[in-house]
């Protein structure tokens, strides 16, 4: 077999595989719809506000409910030490260079 033919077959098979994965993603989204609906119902019924992604600390478990200084609450000189803290950005309303601690 010519090298060019082999290369073109490789590219074609990858494109077909990508198309198959595209179809897989479509059907996965369809089959995941009841699960997403169940989660959404649970959020509405229990008034939940956060995903359960990081359970290391209260402010990583509920980042939307955390205030500005909670990551350093252990003592005045404590630094953020949980690995999740490096993944989570502060809530969007805290993009200022300071945080009002009375709000």
């Amino acid at each position: 077999m010519r090298k060019s033919t082999a290369f073109l077959l490789y590219i074609l098979s990858n494109i077909i595989l990508l198309a198959v994965l595209g179809v897989h993603s479509f059907y996965q989204r369809e089959s995941a719809a009841p699960g997403i609906e169940e989660k959404r119902e649970m959020v509405g019924r229990l008034d939940l506000t956060d995903l359960c992604l990081f359970t290391e600390a209260n402010y990583t478990r509920h980042p939307t409910q955390a205030d500005g200084h909670v990551a350093f609450q252990d003592h005045p000189a404590s630094l953020e030490h949980f690995p999740s803290g490096s993944l989570l950005r502060p809530p969007s309303k805290m993009n200022r260079t300071h945080v009002r601690l009375d709000r």
């Binding site: 060019s4 119902e41 649970m42 409910q65 989570l88």
Partner: protein, 378 residues
């Protein structure tokens, strides 16, 4: 047309023969390139998928949450505040939430305890998430011990375990009755953890928030929009440890492209000189180099994207799990739903394939325009 295709195939044959003459270097290049695309695409698929799922799931979270702040810290809020807030026009419902965290010294895990509006099991019973069931090996009918605020041991029977499909929101969740919550944590019956409000007209939310801030100056108001934006920002490309992974990958790619763009080897220049000497046009040489760059970059891109998809959506990003899990004892098990942002895939294509192919062409053009005799004699 068929003549043009035959020409491309002939040039491709020659290109692959040339690539195979430098097999080791090109295979190493292909593997590194594939790894970079794999890493970038994995991060892209993971972050977008979580962001999409979060924005869908959290759409029904409360319109507003009111927290009491005292000395800069979150404090229980008096129920009298709820009566004040209920009087604001536009609020369809206001209720107090009782929830908190419990540290389990046996496993080192943190649980989220919550009192639902309606709890059919009454005192003595709990509903737990899959994560709690896993770390404590506890199932319906079993009992869990808790230590109350007074240091006494409290025994609660598991009535139900939430479904695995709900792990993303309920993995560490324990639902208890109001009585059991107060027995466990103490606190005044006139206070709750925070207030949740629902508003009739979403457009009035900012106005109502301002009114609440004026009415209750020692409170902090969190809007649903801020909740959704927080999860939009989580895993953002600009934040956190993931930027370190991306920065390493991008730097590696820049080094690769620079290596290509900084010039051809003596052998490659001689090869081009010989081709020019036997009658190849400059355009044919550039076409050959184009196919060389395209063959490597397109092969790496397709392989990287496919492997990234399989890694994220079939193996639940297992390579990133140590980073995502951190120090957590309780970690939810869930399979991500494959939400793919096609624009990001296209952007990745143009950021990887196109620059590399162009970087291959530039030194080749310089070599192809030089007198072949001088190149072969060098």
């Amino acid at each position: 047309m068929s003549g043009w295709i035959d020409k491309q195939k002939n040039i491709l044959d020659f290109t692959f023969s040339s690539i195979l003459r430098r097999k080791g270097k090109n295979i190493a290049l292909l593997l590194v390139y594939t790894l970079i695309v794999f890493l970038l695409a994995s991060v892209m698929f993971l972050t977008y998928s979580i962001k999409r799922e979060a924005s869908t799931i959290l759409k029904d979270s409360p319109d507003m949450i009111v927290q009491k702040i005292s000395a800069g810290r979150h404090d229980p809020i008096p129920l009298s505040y709820m009566e004040k807030v209920k009087g604001i026009r536009g609020i369809s419902s206001a209720k107090g939430r009782l929830w908190g965290y419990y540290y389990d010294p046996i496993t080192g895990a943190n649980y989220t305890l919550m009192v639902p509006d309606q709890f059919s099991h009454g005192p003595g019973g709990i509903e737990i998430g899959q994560g709690v069931s896993r770390v404590r090996t506890t199932f319906p009918g079993d009992a869990l011990d808790f230590r109350t605020w007074e240091g006494k041991v409290m025994n609660l029977e598991v009535k139900r375990v939430f479904s695995p499909e709900s792990e993303l929101v309920s993995s560490d969740l324990i639902l208890v009755s109001g009585e059991d919550f107060r027995t466990l944590f103490g606190g005044s019956r006139d206070h709750v953890t925070d207030l949740v409000l629902r508003v009739r007209n979403p457009k009035e939310i900012p106005t109502i928030a301002v009114k609440i801030a004026e009415l209750l100056p020692d409170t902090r108001i969190i809007l649903r929009e801020e909740i959704l934006r927080t999860y939009d920002a989580v895993f953002s490309w600009r934040g956190g440890i993931l930027i370190l992974i991306l920065a390493g990958a991008v730097l590696a790619f820049i080094i690769l492209a620079w290596d290509k763009a900084s010039g051809l080897s003596q052998e490659e220049r001689k090869e081009i000189g010989i081709l020019k000497a036997i009658g190849w046009e400059t355009s044919d040489v550039l076409l050959m180099k184009f196919w060389e760059g395209m063959a490597v970059s397109l092969s790496a891109f397709l392989a990287g994207i496919i492997l990234a998809y399989i890694h994220v959506f079939f193996f639940s990003s297992s390579l990133f799990e140590p980073v995502l899990k951190g120090w957590a004892v309780l970690y939810p098990q869930f399979r991500l739903v494959p939400f793919i942002d096609a624009s990001q895939v296209v952007a990745l294509f143009f950021l990887t394939v196109v620059p590399y192919t162009v970087a291959t062409l530039i030194p080749s053009w310089r070599a192809a325009t030089v007198d072949p005799d001088s190149v072969m004699r060098a």
